[in-house]
């Protein structure tokens, strides 16, 4: 199983409510994924600052780390901690330097995401507990994607939870299972893509990263994945300006969407959409199989 929720705001007046809406949607999908939950929130940002979201141990000493890191790279690096995640605000020209320092200054930290707008949080546990731990309800932003996981292809770990980051300001969540993920993983490893887990979704994320690296745009990369990835899937992909949806060619996994003047929202089940304002008058539809959909903020 697994549950996916996503919301893309058209009306800026709702931006302060984004986290609250996503948290409510996430909880409705608890039956579909009680193992773990995660979410990517696209908030305020500027292209010259890159936010690095790190997963750190409970005992992590933020102050010492921040001091040592700022000293090592020569500028003050702002850091904000939410439970087991730390978001570093790094000037774009210092990202490489910071990433190089992480191995020595915080060897236990794992990079969750990088981008000017994205922050990505995920953890093992019930969706309600996970969203509370990170205070999702008080996050604001333009769009967000969440996932509740019922593991089928790999272990229940934080690293195996969704979303998976696929590149700068990009992330992927998945409902379903891929049957050729080992084969695709081996091929991608030869192409220089690295993997942290045995998870099938990470392979899909890695595949998109690879295609994007080859010069595809996200739409083309998703089209290409229809040929290469075998199995059942509904993917929702977040980018800095919106989100995309792709279902497998037989539409095995459910997906329902709602659109109003204020937002476009995605849910694995209709229940996830019932918590949204104005849902009674929303246009409700199901995305067609093997068709790439995109909702994008005009550049």
């Amino acid at each position: 199983m697994c549950g996916i929720v996503g919301i893309f705001l058209k009306d800026p007046a709702l931006e302060p409510e984004l986290g609250k809406l996503l948290a409510a949607m996430l909880v409705t999908m608890t039956d579909r994924g009680p193992d773990s939950a995660g979410f990517a929130v696209y908030g305020s940002g500027t292209p010259d600052i890159v936010k690095l979201t790190l997963r750190v141990p409970q005992s992590f000493n933020l102050k010492d780390f921040q001091k040592a890191l700022s000293k090592a790279v020569g500028v003050n690096i702002e850091a904000t901690q939410r439970a087991t995640h730390v978001v570093l605000a790094v000037p774009a020209d210092k990202v490489q330097a910071v990433q190089a320092q992480l191995a020595t200054l915080a060897p236990e930290a794992q990079l969750s995401s990088a981008g000017s707008f994205i922050e990505l949080y995920k953890e093992v546990g019930l969706p309600a507990d996970v969203s509370q731990r990170f205070d999702l309800a008080h996050m604001s932003g333009t769009h967000a994607i969440g996932h509740t996981r019922m593991a089928t292809e790999s272990a229940v770990t934080t690293a195996g939870a969704h979303p998976f980051s696929t590149g700068r300001d990009q992330c992927l969540v998945h409902n379903g299972s891929l049957s050729n993920h080992n084969q695709v993983r081996r091929r991608l490893i030869r192409e220089g893509i690295t993997f942290d887990t045995d998870n099938d979704t990470e392979v899909a994320a890695g595949y998109l990263t690879w295609r994007l690296g080859q010069g595809d745009d996200l739409g083309n990369a998703l089209e290409a994945s229809l040929k290469e990835l075998d199995g059942f899937y509904t993917f929702v992909v977040g980018t800095e300006s919106g989100f995309g949806v792709l279902r497998d060619p037989i539409g095995c996994k459910h997906a329902v969407m709602a659109e109003t003047d204020q937002y476009v929202a995605f849910g694995t089940e209709f229940r996830a959409l019932t918590v949204l304002p104005g849902i009674e008058n929303a246009r409700i539809f199901e995305p067609n199989p093997a068709t790439v959909y995109f909702w994008d903020r005009a550049a």
Partner: protein, 235 residues
């Protein structure tokens, strides 16, 4: 005063679906209330599933998976949209969906009538075994897959691979068919088919809404019934 209809109202915001269904199931032996009204379903699953009683259940709002599944005798009206598998395995009775239905509407159902005012998505009537389905909008891909008996009537269009591996169900489509599945072919509409279609529409209560001569008929070419090596690629 004995004919007065008493309506039993259940609000799913304060009562669990299990309680509602238990109360409806207990009507099989005969109950006092013949009319039930369900409020605020909010996409809940299995609302009014497994009924076996002469009762009318009206649901105000959108329901989740398997609404009115396995229905016998009851009339279930959804004043909203229905999730996957509405009326799955229905045996008899009637289901009306005033909005859209998700995938696998009327799947495997053996009897009764399912009327959907809006659209139905993928696999509508998959493996149907005697149900009559009327969809006033359009249906999604892979509908009537392995359909065995009954009728599927569509006022709008049908998606890809309509009637793949179909047996003896009859498909009437008024609009465009994107593609036909393996062993499904168009067949001529003759007088008996116009009459049959009219009767089915009459049963569904929509006979005078639409002209039966606008419909085209699809069914099995009967080439895949028995294994033949020349057809190996189509199985």
């Amino acid at each position: 005063m004995t004919n007065q209809i008493s309506t039993q109202i259940v609000d799913l915001r304060s009562n669990p679906v299990r309680e509602l269904n238990q109360a409806l199931h207990s009507l099989s032996g005969g109950g006092s209330s013949k009319h039930w009204r369900v409020l605020h379903p909010l996409g809940a699953h299995a609302v009014a599933a497994g009924l076996d009683a002469d009762v009318t259940v009206e649901i105000d709002g959108d329901v989740g998976y398997y609404c009115a599944g396995m229905n016998q005798r009851a009339i279930v009206i959804v004043n909203g949209s229905a999730g996957p598998g509405v009326g799955e395995n229905m045996m008899s009775g009637r289901i009306y969906v005033r909005g859209d239905a998700s995938s696998a509407a009327g799947a495997t159902a053996r009897g009764g009538t399912l009327v959907i005012d809006g659209n139905a998505s993928a696999r509508c009537g998959i493996s149907m075994k005697g149900i009559d389905i009327v969809v006033k909008g359009s249906i999604g891909p892979m509908s009537a897959f392995m359909a065995q008996e009954g009728t599927l009537t569509v006022f709008g269009d049908a998606g890809e691979a309509l009637g793949d591996s179909i047996y003896e169900a009859k498909l009437f489509v008024r609009g465009k068919v994107k593609s036909l599945g393996a062993d499904c072919i168009e067949k001529p509409m003759e007088d008996q088919h116009f009459r049959e279609l009219f009767e089915k529409l009459k049963e569904a209560g929509v006979a005078h809404e639409i002209d039966v001569t606008d419909f085209r008929r699809y069914g099995s070419a009967r080439n895949l019934y028995h294994f033949h090596v020349d057809n190996a690629g189509a199985y």
